[in-house]
Protein backbone atom coordinates (compact mmCIF):
# COMPACT_ATOMS: atom_id res chain seq x y z
CA UNK A 1 0.00 0.00 0.00
CA UNK A 2 1.76 3.06 -1.24
CA UNK A 3 0.61 6.46 -0.25
CA UNK A 4 0.48 9.09 -2.92
CA UNK A 5 3.40 11.41 -2.44
CA UNK A 6 2.66 15.01 -1.60
CA UNK A 7 4.65 16.06 -4.63
CA UNK A 8 1.87 14.74 -6.77
CA UNK A 9 -0.35 17.59 -5.66
CA UNK A 10 -0.39 20.66 -7.72
CA UNK A 11 1.14 23.31 -5.55
CA UNK A 12 -0.97 26.47 -5.33
CA UNK A 13 1.92 28.41 -6.89
CA UNK A 14 1.40 26.65 -10.21
CA UNK A 15 -2.31 27.16 -10.28
CA UNK A 16 -2.28 29.92 -12.84
CA UNK A 17 -0.61 27.65 -15.33
CA UNK A 18 -2.77 24.63 -14.78
CA UNK A 19 -6.35 25.57 -15.65
CA UNK A 20 -7.19 27.28 -18.87
CA UNK A 21 -10.26 25.92 -20.57
CA UNK A 22 -10.05 23.23 -23.21
CA UNK A 23 -6.77 21.98 -21.83
CA UNK A 24 -7.17 18.22 -21.57
CA UNK A 25 -7.77 16.87 -18.09
CA UNK A 26 -6.36 13.41 -18.68
CA UNK A 27 -3.23 13.97 -16.60
CA UNK A 28 -5.25 15.19 -13.61
CA UNK A 29 -7.50 13.59 -11.06
CA UNK A 30 -9.68 14.97 -8.30
CA UNK A 31 -10.66 13.84 -4.83
CA UNK A 32 -14.39 13.23 -4.54
CA UNK A 33 -14.33 13.95 -0.82
CA UNK A 34 -12.40 17.23 -0.62
CA UNK A 35 -12.17 18.43 -4.24
CA UNK A 36 -8.36 18.47 -4.30
CA UNK A 37 -6.99 18.56 -7.81
CA UNK A 38 -3.83 16.56 -8.33
CA UNK A 39 -1.76 14.91 -10.97
CA UNK A 40 -2.86 11.45 -11.95
CA UNK A 41 -0.28 8.92 -10.86
CA UNK A 42 0.97 6.45 -13.45
CA UNK A 43 -1.59 3.66 -13.74
CA UNK A 44 -0.45 0.41 -12.20
CA UNK A 45 2.44 1.95 -10.28
CA UNK A 46 0.64 2.46 -7.00
CA UNK A 47 -1.32 -0.31 -5.36
CA UNK A 48 -3.50 2.28 -3.67
CA UNK A 49 -3.81 6.01 -3.97
CA UNK A 50 -5.01 8.01 -0.98
CA UNK A 51 -5.92 11.66 -1.08
CA UNK A 52 -2.99 13.56 0.47
CA UNK A 53 -5.37 16.18 1.84
CA UNK A 54 -8.26 14.27 3.42
CA UNK A 55 -7.11 10.65 3.29
CA UNK A 56 -10.00 9.30 1.21
CA UNK A 57 -9.19 6.25 -0.87
CA UNK A 58 -9.19 7.32 -4.52
CA UNK A 59 -8.06 4.24 -6.29
CA UNK A 60 -6.96 0.72 -5.52
CA UNK A 61 -5.35 -1.29 -8.26
CA UNK A 62 -6.69 -4.82 -8.66
CA UNK A 63 -4.58 -7.13 -10.79
CA UNK A 64 -6.60 -9.51 -12.97
CA UNK A 65 -9.71 -7.56 -12.05
CA UNK A 66 -11.86 -8.87 -14.88
CA UNK A 67 -11.22 -12.57 -14.40
CA UNK A 68 -11.41 -12.51 -10.63
CA UNK A 69 -14.59 -10.45 -10.64
CA UNK A 70 -16.25 -12.70 -13.20
CA UNK A 71 -15.50 -15.76 -11.09
CA UNK A 72 -16.88 -14.06 -8.00
CA UNK A 73 -19.99 -12.68 -9.65
CA UNK A 74 -20.86 -16.08 -11.12
CA UNK A 75 -20.45 -17.69 -7.70
CA UNK A 76 -22.63 -15.03 -6.13
CA UNK A 77 -25.37 -15.43 -8.75
CA UNK A 78 -25.37 -19.20 -8.25
CA UNK A 79 -25.70 -18.74 -4.50
CA UNK A 80 -28.44 -16.15 -4.75
CA UNK A 81 -31.41 -18.44 -5.37
CA UNK A 82 -30.66 -20.99 -2.61
CA UNK A 83 -29.81 -18.14 -0.22
CA UNK A 84 -33.21 -16.54 -0.71
CA UNK A 85 -35.44 -19.58 -1.06
CA UNK A 86 -33.93 -22.30 1.10
CA UNK A 87 -34.92 -22.21 4.78
CA UNK A 88 -32.57 -20.11 6.90
CA UNK A 89 -33.94 -21.70 10.01
CA UNK A 90 -36.42 -24.20 11.25
CA UNK A 91 -38.21 -23.40 14.49
CA UNK A 92 -40.03 -25.96 16.60
CA UNK A 93 -42.18 -25.00 19.55
CA UNK A 94 -45.46 -26.11 21.13
CA UNK A 95 -45.79 -28.83 18.52
CA UNK A 96 -45.61 -26.32 15.70
CA UNK A 97 -42.86 -26.15 13.16
CA UNK A 98 -42.09 -23.17 10.98
CA UNK A 99 -39.61 -22.78 8.15
CA UNK A 100 -38.25 -19.34 7.52
CA UNK A 101 -36.67 -18.20 4.27
CA UNK A 102 -35.63 -14.71 3.23
CA UNK A 103 -38.56 -14.67 0.82
CA UNK A 104 -41.11 -15.97 3.36
CA UNK A 105 -40.01 -13.22 5.74
CA UNK A 106 -41.11 -10.66 3.19
CA UNK A 107 -44.33 -12.52 2.44
CA UNK A 108 -45.40 -12.77 6.09
CA UNK A 109 -44.65 -9.12 6.77
CA UNK A 110 -46.62 -8.16 3.69
CA UNK A 111 -49.54 -10.34 4.74
CA UNK A 112 -50.06 -8.15 7.80
CA UNK A 113 -51.57 -5.56 5.47
CA UNK A 114 -52.04 -1.84 5.93
CA UNK A 115 -49.15 0.54 6.40
CA UNK A 116 -46.93 -2.29 7.59
CA UNK A 117 -46.62 -3.44 4.02
CA UNK A 118 -44.19 -0.58 3.50
CA UNK A 119 -41.71 -2.34 5.78
CA UNK A 120 -42.12 -5.52 3.77
CA UNK A 121 -41.32 -3.57 0.62
CA UNK A 122 -38.21 -2.01 2.18
CA UNK A 123 -37.04 -5.43 3.36
CA UNK A 124 -37.70 -6.94 -0.07
CA UNK A 125 -35.74 -4.16 -1.77
CA UNK A 126 -32.77 -4.15 0.55
CA UNK A 127 -32.37 -7.90 1.00
CA UNK A 128 -33.44 -9.33 -2.35
CA UNK A 129 -34.12 -7.01 -5.26
CA UNK A 130 -31.21 -4.58 -4.89
CA UNK A 131 -28.58 -7.25 -4.15
CA UNK A 132 -29.82 -9.16 -7.22
CA UNK A 133 -29.84 -6.01 -9.33
CA UNK A 134 -26.32 -5.24 -8.20
CA UNK A 135 -25.05 -8.70 -9.11
CA UNK A 136 -26.79 -8.74 -12.48
CA UNK A 137 -25.49 -5.33 -13.46
CA UNK A 138 -21.98 -6.24 -12.35
CA UNK A 139 -22.19 -9.45 -14.35
CA UNK A 140 -23.41 -7.73 -17.53
CA UNK A 141 -20.83 -4.96 -17.21
CA UNK A 142 -18.05 -7.53 -16.90
CA UNK A 143 -19.38 -9.42 -19.91
CA UNK A 144 -19.49 -6.20 -21.89
CA UNK A 145 -15.85 -5.51 -21.05
CA UNK A 146 -14.86 -9.08 -21.82
CA UNK A 147 -16.53 -9.24 -25.23
CA UNK A 148 -16.06 -5.57 -26.02
CA UNK A 149 -19.69 -5.03 -26.95
CA UNK A 150 -22.73 -3.02 -25.86
CA UNK A 151 -20.56 -0.52 -24.03
CA UNK A 152 -23.22 2.19 -23.86
CA UNK A 153 -25.68 -0.12 -22.10
CA UNK A 154 -22.95 -1.26 -19.75
CA UNK A 155 -22.25 2.37 -18.82
CA UNK A 156 -25.89 2.89 -17.90
CA UNK A 157 -25.94 -0.36 -15.92
CA UNK A 158 -22.78 0.47 -14.02
CA UNK A 159 -24.14 3.90 -13.22
CA UNK A 160 -27.26 2.23 -11.88
CA UNK A 161 -25.05 -0.05 -9.81
CA UNK A 162 -23.22 2.92 -8.30
CA UNK A 163 -26.54 4.47 -7.31
CA UNK A 164 -28.05 1.41 -5.66
CA UNK A 165 -24.95 -0.19 -4.16
CA UNK A 166 -25.41 1.38 -0.76
CA UNK A 167 -28.98 0.16 -0.43
CA UNK A 168 -28.29 -3.55 -0.63
CA UNK A 169 -27.99 -4.71 2.97
CA UNK A 170 -27.17 -8.40 2.99
CA UNK A 171 -24.63 -8.09 5.80
CA UNK A 172 -27.11 -6.33 8.05
CA UNK A 173 -29.69 -9.02 7.31
CA UNK A 174 -27.22 -11.74 8.30
CA UNK A 175 -26.61 -10.14 11.68
CA UNK A 176 -30.40 -9.73 11.97
CA UNK A 177 -30.82 -13.47 11.45
CA UNK A 178 -28.22 -14.23 14.12
CA UNK A 179 -29.84 -11.85 16.62
CA UNK A 180 -33.26 -13.40 16.06
CA UNK A 181 -31.80 -16.89 16.41
CA UNK A 182 -30.57 -15.90 19.85
CA UNK A 183 -33.89 -14.26 20.71
CA UNK A 184 -35.75 -17.42 19.74
CA UNK A 185 -33.59 -19.63 21.95
CA UNK A 186 -35.70 -19.00 25.04
CA UNK A 187 -39.07 -19.93 23.56
CA UNK A 188 -38.20 -22.49 20.90
CA UNK A 189 -35.52 -24.65 19.39
CA UNK A 190 -34.28 -22.92 16.28
CA UNK A 191 -32.22 -25.01 13.89
CA UNK A 192 -29.96 -23.54 11.26
CA UNK A 193 -30.97 -24.42 7.71
CA UNK A 194 -29.03 -24.72 4.46
CA UNK A 195 -30.31 -21.32 3.40
CA UNK A 196 -28.35 -19.60 6.13
CA UNK A 197 -25.10 -21.17 4.98
CA UNK A 198 -25.80 -20.13 1.38
CA UNK A 199 -26.73 -16.66 2.60
CA UNK A 200 -23.51 -16.26 4.56
CA UNK A 201 -21.52 -17.54 1.57
CA UNK A 202 -23.36 -15.14 -0.75
CA UNK A 203 -22.56 -12.26 1.57
CA UNK A 204 -18.90 -13.24 1.75
CA UNK A 205 -18.57 -13.52 -2.04
CA UNK A 206 -20.44 -10.27 -2.60
CA UNK A 207 -18.24 -8.28 -0.23
CA UNK A 208 -15.17 -9.77 -1.88
CA UNK A 209 -16.57 -8.94 -5.31
CA UNK A 210 -17.30 -5.33 -4.35
CA UNK A 211 -13.71 -4.99 -3.16
CA UNK A 212 -12.28 -6.62 -6.29
CA UNK A 213 -14.27 -4.76 -8.87
CA UNK A 214 -12.47 -1.43 -8.59
CA UNK A 215 -14.81 1.23 -10.05
CA UNK A 216 -12.04 3.34 -11.60
CA UNK A 217 -10.69 0.32 -13.46
CA UNK A 218 -14.17 -0.57 -14.66
CA UNK A 219 -14.88 2.96 -15.89
CA UNK A 220 -11.56 3.03 -17.71
CA UNK A 221 -12.15 -0.37 -19.26
CA UNK A 222 -15.64 0.66 -20.35
CA UNK A 223 -14.55 3.84 -22.06
CA UNK A 224 -11.15 2.99 -23.46
CA UNK A 225 -10.06 0.30 -25.87
CA UNK A 226 -9.90 -3.05 -24.16
CA UNK A 227 -6.29 -3.44 -25.29
CA UNK A 228 -5.36 -0.07 -23.85
CA UNK A 229 -6.87 -0.54 -20.42
CA UNK A 230 -4.30 -3.11 -19.44
CA UNK A 231 -6.47 -4.64 -16.75
Amino acid sequence: MQKLLDTHCIAPAHTAAVPGLAEPLTHLMGCHACDLLMERPEPGVHAQVLCPCCGASLYRYQPQMLRRSLALVLTALLLFVPACFLPIMEVRAFGYQTLDTVWSGVVHLYAAGGALQSIAIVVFLSSMLIPLLKLLSQFLVLLSILFNCARSYALVLYRLYQHVREWGMLEVYLIGILVSLVKLLDIAEPKIGAGLICFAALLFVQVWLDATMEPQQVWCALTEDASDAGY
Binding site: H32, Y96, V107, S180
Partner: protein, 217 residues
Protein backbone atom coordinates in the same frame (compact mmCIF):
# COMPACT_ATOMS: atom_id res chain seq x y z
CA UNK B 1 -5.77 23.66 -5.20
CA UNK B 2 -9.37 22.70 -5.52
CA UNK B 3 -10.94 21.42 -8.68
CA UNK B 4 -13.64 24.09 -8.39
CA UNK B 5 -11.00 26.84 -8.66
CA UNK B 6 -9.98 25.49 -12.03
CA UNK B 7 -13.59 25.38 -13.19
CA UNK B 8 -13.42 21.62 -13.07
CA UNK B 9 -15.89 19.30 -11.35
CA UNK B 10 -15.85 15.64 -10.49
CA UNK B 11 -18.62 13.44 -11.82
CA UNK B 12 -20.85 12.42 -8.91
CA UNK B 13 -20.87 8.82 -10.13
CA UNK B 14 -17.55 7.95 -11.77
CA UNK B 15 -15.35 10.77 -10.43
CA UNK B 16 -14.09 11.73 -13.88
CA UNK B 17 -13.08 15.38 -14.27
CA UNK B 18 -15.13 17.70 -16.41
CA UNK B 19 -15.08 21.41 -17.18
CA UNK B 20 -18.31 22.90 -15.87
CA UNK B 21 -19.79 26.37 -16.14
CA UNK B 22 -20.83 27.80 -12.81
CA UNK B 23 -24.34 28.40 -14.02
CA UNK B 24 -24.77 24.92 -15.47
CA UNK B 25 -26.70 22.78 -13.02
CA UNK B 26 -27.50 19.99 -15.43
CA UNK B 27 -24.07 19.16 -16.79
CA UNK B 28 -23.53 15.51 -17.65
CA UNK B 29 -20.36 13.50 -17.45
CA UNK B 30 -18.80 12.70 -20.84
CA UNK B 31 -17.52 9.37 -19.56
CA UNK B 32 -20.50 7.83 -17.80
CA UNK B 33 -23.41 10.19 -18.37
CA UNK B 34 -23.93 10.87 -14.66
CA UNK B 35 -24.65 14.30 -13.19
CA UNK B 36 -21.70 16.62 -12.68
CA UNK B 37 -21.92 19.38 -10.10
CA UNK B 38 -19.27 21.77 -8.88
CA UNK B 39 -21.12 21.32 -5.60
CA UNK B 40 -24.35 19.41 -5.14
CA UNK B 41 -27.18 21.95 -5.50
CA UNK B 42 -28.75 23.16 -2.25
CA UNK B 43 -26.82 20.53 -0.39
CA UNK B 44 -27.03 22.14 3.05
CA UNK B 45 -30.73 22.99 2.90
CA UNK B 46 -31.68 19.53 1.70
CA UNK B 47 -29.52 17.86 4.31
CA UNK B 48 -31.11 19.96 7.04
CA UNK B 49 -34.60 19.14 5.79
CA UNK B 50 -33.91 15.41 5.79
CA UNK B 51 -32.19 15.62 9.17
CA UNK B 52 -35.05 17.49 10.83
CA UNK B 53 -37.60 15.05 9.44
CA UNK B 54 -35.57 12.17 10.83
CA UNK B 55 -35.31 13.84 14.23
CA UNK B 56 -39.09 14.19 14.33
CA UNK B 57 -39.62 10.58 13.29
CA UNK B 58 -37.00 9.43 15.77
CA UNK B 59 -39.45 10.13 18.59
CA UNK B 60 -42.25 7.77 17.47
CA UNK B 61 -39.58 5.28 16.40
CA UNK B 62 -38.46 4.98 20.00
CA UNK B 63 -41.74 5.51 21.84
CA UNK B 64 -44.12 3.41 19.74
CA UNK B 65 -43.82 -0.37 19.84
CA UNK B 66 -41.88 -1.80 16.92
CA UNK B 67 -43.52 -5.18 17.34
CA UNK B 68 -46.34 -6.94 19.18
CA UNK B 69 -45.99 -10.34 20.76
CA UNK B 70 -49.38 -12.08 20.76
CA UNK B 71 -49.59 -14.95 23.16
CA UNK B 72 -52.68 -16.75 24.45
CA UNK B 73 -55.01 -13.94 23.52
CA UNK B 74 -52.82 -11.26 25.04
CA UNK B 75 -50.76 -8.76 23.11
CA UNK B 76 -47.61 -7.33 24.50
CA UNK B 77 -45.99 -4.34 22.82
CA UNK B 78 -42.24 -4.22 22.54
CA UNK B 79 -40.20 -1.08 21.87
CA UNK B 80 -36.60 -0.93 20.69
CA UNK B 81 -35.25 -0.33 24.17
CA UNK B 82 -37.44 -3.10 25.61
CA UNK B 83 -35.90 -5.52 23.13
CA UNK B 84 -32.44 -4.64 24.39
CA UNK B 85 -33.48 -4.96 28.04
CA UNK B 86 -35.05 -8.36 27.33
CA UNK B 87 -31.79 -9.58 25.87
CA UNK B 88 -29.88 -8.40 28.94
CA UNK B 89 -32.33 -10.19 31.21
CA UNK B 90 -31.74 -13.41 29.32
CA UNK B 91 -28.02 -13.02 29.98
CA UNK B 92 -27.17 -12.30 26.40
CA UNK B 93 -25.20 -9.16 26.99
CA UNK B 94 -23.00 -9.32 23.84
CA UNK B 95 -26.05 -9.63 21.58
CA UNK B 96 -27.82 -6.92 23.59
CA UNK B 97 -24.80 -4.72 23.00
CA UNK B 98 -24.92 -5.34 19.24
CA UNK B 99 -28.62 -4.45 19.09
CA UNK B 100 -28.12 -1.45 21.37
CA UNK B 101 -25.31 -0.09 19.22
CA UNK B 102 -27.09 -0.74 15.92
CA UNK B 103 -30.49 0.60 16.83
CA UNK B 104 -29.85 3.26 19.47
CA UNK B 105 -26.25 4.45 19.37
CA UNK B 106 -25.86 4.51 15.56
CA UNK B 107 -29.03 6.49 14.71
CA UNK B 108 -28.39 9.02 17.49
CA UNK B 109 -24.76 9.36 16.48
CA UNK B 110 -25.79 9.85 12.87
CA UNK B 111 -28.31 12.56 13.69
CA UNK B 112 -25.99 14.43 16.05
CA UNK B 113 -22.91 13.92 13.90
CA UNK B 114 -24.49 15.12 10.68
CA UNK B 115 -26.00 18.12 12.46
CA UNK B 116 -22.57 18.98 13.87
CA UNK B 117 -20.89 18.68 10.48
CA UNK B 118 -23.50 20.79 8.71
CA UNK B 119 -23.44 23.45 11.45
CA UNK B 120 -19.68 23.62 11.45
CA UNK B 121 -19.68 24.00 7.65
CA UNK B 122 -22.21 26.79 7.91
CA UNK B 123 -20.44 28.60 10.76
CA UNK B 124 -17.04 27.94 9.17
CA UNK B 125 -15.29 26.82 12.29
CA UNK B 126 -16.00 24.77 15.46
CA UNK B 127 -14.73 21.41 14.20
CA UNK B 128 -11.65 20.99 12.10
CA UNK B 129 -12.05 19.73 8.57
CA UNK B 130 -10.14 16.54 9.36
CA UNK B 131 -12.51 15.71 12.21
CA UNK B 132 -15.54 16.46 10.06
CA UNK B 133 -14.45 14.40 7.11
CA UNK B 134 -13.49 11.49 9.33
CA UNK B 135 -16.86 11.67 11.06
CA UNK B 136 -18.69 11.94 7.73
CA UNK B 137 -16.93 8.87 6.33
CA UNK B 138 -17.78 6.98 9.51
CA UNK B 139 -21.43 8.03 9.31
CA UNK B 140 -21.60 6.88 5.68
CA UNK B 141 -20.28 3.45 6.65
CA UNK B 142 -22.36 2.80 9.75
CA UNK B 143 -25.62 4.26 8.41
CA UNK B 144 -27.06 1.06 7.03
CA UNK B 145 -26.48 -0.95 10.21
CA UNK B 146 -29.47 0.57 11.96
CA UNK B 147 -31.68 -1.51 9.66
CA UNK B 148 -30.74 -4.43 11.91
CA UNK B 149 -33.87 -4.20 14.03
CA UNK B 150 -36.13 -4.20 10.98
CA UNK B 151 -34.53 -7.42 9.75
CA UNK B 152 -34.79 -8.99 13.21
CA UNK B 153 -38.52 -8.26 13.17
CA UNK B 154 -38.82 -9.75 9.67
CA UNK B 155 -37.23 -13.01 10.75
CA UNK B 156 -39.23 -13.16 13.98
CA UNK B 157 -42.55 -12.50 12.25
CA UNK B 158 -41.85 -15.29 9.77
CA UNK B 159 -40.57 -17.85 12.25
CA UNK B 160 -42.81 -17.35 15.28
CA UNK B 161 -46.15 -18.54 13.97
CA UNK B 162 -47.44 -20.91 16.60
CA UNK B 163 -51.19 -20.49 16.19
CA UNK B 164 -52.83 -19.07 19.31
CA UNK B 165 -49.83 -19.81 21.46
CA UNK B 166 -47.48 -17.23 20.08
CA UNK B 167 -47.29 -14.98 17.05
CA UNK B 168 -45.39 -11.80 16.40
CA UNK B 169 -46.40 -8.89 14.23
CA UNK B 170 -44.67 -5.68 13.29
CA UNK B 171 -46.04 -2.40 14.59
CA UNK B 172 -46.03 1.28 13.70
CA UNK B 173 -42.81 2.11 15.52
CA UNK B 174 -41.05 -0.05 12.96
CA UNK B 175 -42.33 2.12 10.10
CA UNK B 176 -41.04 5.26 11.82
CA UNK B 177 -37.74 3.59 12.56
CA UNK B 178 -37.37 2.38 8.99
CA UNK B 179 -38.07 5.90 7.77
CA UNK B 180 -35.43 7.33 10.13
CA UNK B 181 -32.80 4.96 8.76
CA UNK B 182 -33.65 5.71 5.14
CA UNK B 183 -33.89 9.47 5.68
CA UNK B 184 -30.57 9.69 7.52
CA UNK B 185 -28.90 7.65 4.77
CA UNK B 186 -30.37 10.07 2.23
CA UNK B 187 -29.20 13.02 4.34
CA UNK B 188 -25.65 11.66 4.28
CA UNK B 189 -25.89 11.19 0.51
CA UNK B 190 -27.28 14.68 -0.09
CA UNK B 191 -24.56 16.35 1.91
CA UNK B 192 -21.63 17.32 -0.28
CA UNK B 193 -18.47 16.28 1.58
CA UNK B 194 -16.43 18.77 -0.44
CA UNK B 195 -18.12 21.60 1.47
CA UNK B 196 -16.22 20.56 4.58
CA UNK B 197 -12.96 21.63 2.99
CA UNK B 198 -14.21 24.70 1.18
CA UNK B 199 -13.76 27.38 3.79
CA UNK B 200 -10.24 26.16 4.59
CA UNK B 201 -8.98 26.58 1.08
CA UNK B 202 -10.84 29.71 0.19
CA UNK B 203 -8.66 32.78 0.45
CA UNK B 204 -10.29 34.81 3.17
CA UNK B 205 -10.22 38.20 1.50
CA UNK B 206 -11.86 37.03 -1.71
CA UNK B 207 -14.44 34.44 -0.81
CA UNK B 208 -14.80 32.26 -3.82
CA UNK B 209 -17.88 33.31 -5.68
CA UNK B 210 -18.34 30.01 -7.41
CA UNK B 211 -18.74 27.98 -4.28
CA UNK B 212 -20.83 30.67 -2.62
CA UNK B 213 -23.28 30.55 -5.49
CA UNK B 214 -23.28 26.81 -5.77
CA UNK B 215 -23.73 25.85 -2.18
CA UNK B 216 -24.37 28.64 0.27
CA UNK B 217 -28.11 28.39 -0.10
Amino acid sequence: MRAIDAGVALCDVCHALEYVQTSDEHALCKRCGGAVHLRKPNSLVRTWALLLTSVLLYIPANVLPIMMVHSLGQSQPSTIMAGVIDLIQYDMVPIALVVFIASIVVPSFKLIGLALIVTSVQLKRPLTAKQCSRMYRFIEIIGRWSMLDIFVITVLVASVRFGNLATISADFGAIAFCAVVILTMLAALTFDARLIWDHLQEPEQAQNKISADACAD
